[in-house]
């Protein structure tokens, strides 16, 4: 049966988690490995690490963080941020990442997606698409560089192209909603997820558990990514999954998942 994944996302820089992690009971809430272990225990279906420094040194640190995490946490790990080449991807996969996500580099050189899919398999390749609603003319435009730079590229067309090139999955972030806690851009999510055969991870804007339900039921997302709702301690992953299940969304139950 089709089940929906819940994916906490950790922004990492210099080997530390940034963005308001407030777990008083974690000895070191800034340690990505400790946080990953906690979310695994709570029943997270997968974890996403985003390297927000994306510098050369940052990448080395990230490889080490992935290695340490993969020794302890045996659920899938998607790592992105600054992946620009097959060599970058190889190092992360070798370190224990299940998937790598590419964003700007894929737009700069779409062949990279095909190259990664050919070398590691589509299932390893996530194309991250940051989209913003067009002010005029409808639709959404792709942005790069953390949502700062417009590309003029239509988001739906780019998603379809990425899937064609060999992306196994799309990580679709609404830059209009990211950080607002107003909920996913459901129209965007549904437009992409409904038209393509590859799974779509919804991202950007989750502020309540109801937003997760909407992402699954209205946005038709295959996976639900969220950050602050979990990091702030507002809700545990277990609560999120119990809520989804109560609202009729099929999820892997948290009970018996962690440990």
């Amino acid at each position: 049966m089709r089940s929906v994944r819940v994916i906490p996302c950790l922004d990492v820089t210099g080997g530390r988690v940034v963005k308001g992690v407030r777990f008083v009971d974690l000895a070191d809430a800034g340690d990505p490995v400790a946080l990953a272990a906690r979310y695994d225990f709570e029943g997270a279906d997968e974890l996403a690490f985003l390297d927000i420094t994306a510098s050369h040194e940052g990448r080395d640190t990230m490889v080490e963080v992935v290695e340490r995490t993969a020794e302890q946490v045996f659920i899938p790990l998607t790592v992105g941020g600054g992946v620009r080449s097959a060599e970058d991807a190889r190092r992360l996969l070798r370190a224990g990442a299940e998937k790598v996500s590419v964003n700007t580099a894929a737009l700069d050189a779409p062949d990279l997606v095909a190259r990664l899919a050919d070398e590691f398999g589509s299932q390893c390749v996530v194309v991250a698409v940051d989209a913003r609603r067009r002010v005029e003319g409808g639709g959404w435009e792709v942005y790069t560089h953390g949502g700062r730079r417009p590309t003029g590229v239509d988001a739906l067309a780019w998603c379809a192209r990425a899937a064609e090139l060999g992306a196994g999955e799309l990580l679709l972030t609404s830059m209009d909603r990211d950080g607002t806690r107003d909920g996913y851009d459901l129209e965007l999510t549904a437009a992409v997820s409904g038209s393509l055969r590859v799974p779509v991870i919804a991202s950007g804007g989750v502020g309540t558990l109801e937003h997760l339900v909407d992402g699954a039921l209205i946005g038709k997302a295959d996976a639900l990514l969220a950050a602050s709702i979990f990091h702030s301690g507002q809700h545990s992953v277990g609560e999120a999954k119990a809520y989804l299940e109560a609202r009729g969304v099929v999820v892997r139950p948290s009970a018996g998942a962690g440990g």
Partner: protein, 213 residues
């Protein structure tokens, strides 16, 4: 004949993230080694054949590495053998993904595309449904319908050796067991505690576990 015998060897034939299975075995306290050189895989206690990506590429890489002979010998001599994901698919005669590229052919049938009408690849957790009415050793100690993590676009046909399936647009083969030959379409090394239990069952069968556990 270099490496010590009596270990579990994880065949590292240069494809993607094959180290995860090894990492999980080490975590379980098993004597496990990642092996690239066939000479280091003499007389193993067990053989794990992981695999990610495309069937054709994996089959060619396995052949080119020479590790295909390690796999064949293990299967023929009754050594405990575990194929994971594409490593399971490689046990069949071939795959619709790479017509003309043979698999090991030790299990009958050809790997096919996932059913139409569902997202592809299947990238998600799914629940195993036991098949065949006999208890599978690789699923010993697990809940009756455990959740496991799947990532694949193709799957083997359901046959007499299939011991579990999952429902994804129809029944999809999820695990096989035939004498020394075990295989999972899901990733036990990425399926949390329950997945580790599957690997622990394999380790127990090889006798290469940590006696203190």
């Amino acid at each position: 004949m270099n490496g010590p015998s009596g270990d579990i060897v994880v065949l590292d034939y240069g494809i993607g993230n094959l180290a995860s299975a090894h990492r999980a075995l080490v975590r379980l306290g098993a004597r496990a080694r990642l092996v690239r050189d066939p000479a280091e895989a003499a007389d193993p206690a067990g053989v794990v054949l992981p695999g990610v990506g495309a069937f054709g590429r994996c089959a060619e890489a396995l052949q080119a590495s020479g590790l295909i002979d390690v796999a064949r010998r293990a299967i023929e001599t009754g050594t405990p053998f575990l194929g994971i994901c594409v490593g399971l698919q490689l046990l069949y005669e071939g795959s619709a993904e790479a017509p003309g590229t043979p698999g090991l052919g030790v299990v009958g049938g050809v790997v096919g595309r996932l059913p139409a009408g569902v997202k592809c690849p299947q990238i998600q957790w799914n629940q195993l449904e036991p098949l065949g009415g006999r208890p599978a050793e690789l699923l010993a100690g697990l809940p009756e319908r455990p959740w496991m993590y799947f990532v694949h676009s193709y799957a083997p046909p359901i046959g007499p050796e299939t011991v579990a399936a999952c429902d994804y647009g129809g029944p999809v083969a999820a695990a096989i067991e035939r004498d020394n030959l075990w295989g999972t379409q899901f990733h036990p090394e990425k399926s949390g505690t329950l997945g580790l239990r599957v690997l622990a069952n394999f380790v127990a069968r090889t006798g290469a576990g940590d006696p203190r556990r």
